[in-house]
Symmetry: C2
Subunit: 236 residues, 2 copies
DNA sequence: ACAAAAGTGTTCGAGATACACCCATGC
DNA sequence: GCATGGGTGTATCTCGAACACTTTTGT
């Protein structure tokens, strides 16, 4: 990975990827940020992002860049928008393609930028409530990604990706409430979720809580795929 | 506008825009194609597209390029996806940003590539049924745009953009049927459309038909904007 | 026994679907 | 008078919204 500065002086046009990775932990929605270790915006917080190389597709670039800057491996991301304002990068014309993902935080906490680059000093899960002002136009990029998942979750049950493998309905509901930023009715929420028929009820309960333990559920990928197919085909 | 060939030999990375412009005429859904006049894919049909210049935003580039290649002026387009496979262009790495629009065909038939470029020999409205195999990966780009509008129309009443200013409900229904590729029930369709409350019934009827003339309607932009706002705000 | 969260049903209104006949007009 | 599309209403179902109390468990 060449340092950005060595490329900028001669570039005509460069493209980059920026990743918006959502995680959910301790009842909070978080986003993965890096602390920049190079100019411009040295010491600022930014979305993990870097230049696309000559011989890699955008999707591959996204995966590689996220890994190198944060240590997260094999994350599948979706492209959501491309940002191309002329002056979005102070050193030249950089068009950036935005990717997002929602991932399970448990067991993914060991973040460590790969030592191949000193571009990021560290990577940190940051609660949305504590979001600092970000480098470049990353505030705008983040906002667009957040709008996207908020929109998507309201017509597609995608929130499981953020939860541990086994979860309670109340945890799932809290997650929805955080993303949609409103209270939901418990009975209606449960009815609706169970109606989707994509949850498997386990013979197991929550442990270590000082109140009535809730049933645990698992997300059923097979049934989910079926539902998703149905939603993609128009008309019934 | 420099010719593509003079740029390619030395480029590291280049971005372009490709435009998917939908029109509706004589009961058929059409897309605007150009006939290429330069290599590669000389003489092939392609989506109108060209390189983004150094000092213009993506949105501006899209508008300019469409105008230069087809003569269509001031068309507002939405970005829908960015295509970055390594080998999508035979002469080097070109990442392209897809834009789409739906426009009124009546009065927009005078297509003429601007003489500043000999890149396109001509621009032609092509019925979807007659789509030839397109240059580059434009088949894929087209398909993605079409999926996008098909999806969008089923939750947002956007089809007016394709119709003449005054239209009958039957024309509107036909348009929906063509895009969704299925028959709709006349009574239910009318009920639903009128319920949106974004159509203004005119004191005017169809002329020159050899059967009972239908009422003409106009699309009410003010009310539409209101509806759109409502749909964008989550939760009620 | 008390605190805390789990779990559970019914009613209402809105909107989607299915379905068939008479009406106006031009030829 | 006939062919062609214009125009209309009702019954049913599904889904989302509103709404409150009992049960279980750990301390």
């Amino acid at each position: 990975m060449k340092a950005l500065e060595t490329i900028l002086p001669k570039f005509d046009s460069v493209f980059s990827i920026d990743c918006v990775i959502f995680g959910f932990d301790e009842g909070e929605l978080k986003v993965l940020l890096i602390e920049r270790n190079v100019e411009p915006f040295k010491d600022w917080w930014a979305l993990p992002g870097y230049l696309v190389e000559q011989e890699e597709s955008l999707d591959n670039a996204a995966e590689r860049i996220l890994y190198e800057l944060t240590g997260l491996k094999g994350i599948y991301m979706d492209q959501f928008y491309t940002f191309g304002d002329v002056n979005r990068h102070p050193q030249g014309r950089v068009i950036t393609v935005g990717y997002y993902a929602m991932i399970r935080l448990s067991g993914n906490k060991d973040l460590k930028p790969a030592p191949i680059t000193n571009y990021a000093r560290r990577a940190v899960w940051t609660p949305l409530a504590d979001l600092p002002k970000l480098a470049f136009d990353h505030d705008k990029i983040f906002k667009r990604a957040f709008d996207k998942i908020r929109n998507k979750i309201s017509y597609q049950p995608i929130a499981f990706e953020l939860l541990p493998e086994k979860f309670t309905l109340t945890q799932l509901q809290h997650l929805y409430e955080v993303i949609l930023n409103k209270k939901l009715d418990k009975r209606n929420f449960r009815k609706k979720m169970l109606n989707y028929d994509i949850l498997k009820e386990l013979d197991e309960k929550q442990k270590g809580v000082s109140y009535r333990a809730a049933k645990l559920y698992k997300f059923d990928k097979r049934k989910y795929a079926r539902l998703f197919q149905k939603e993609l085909s128009f008309g019934k």
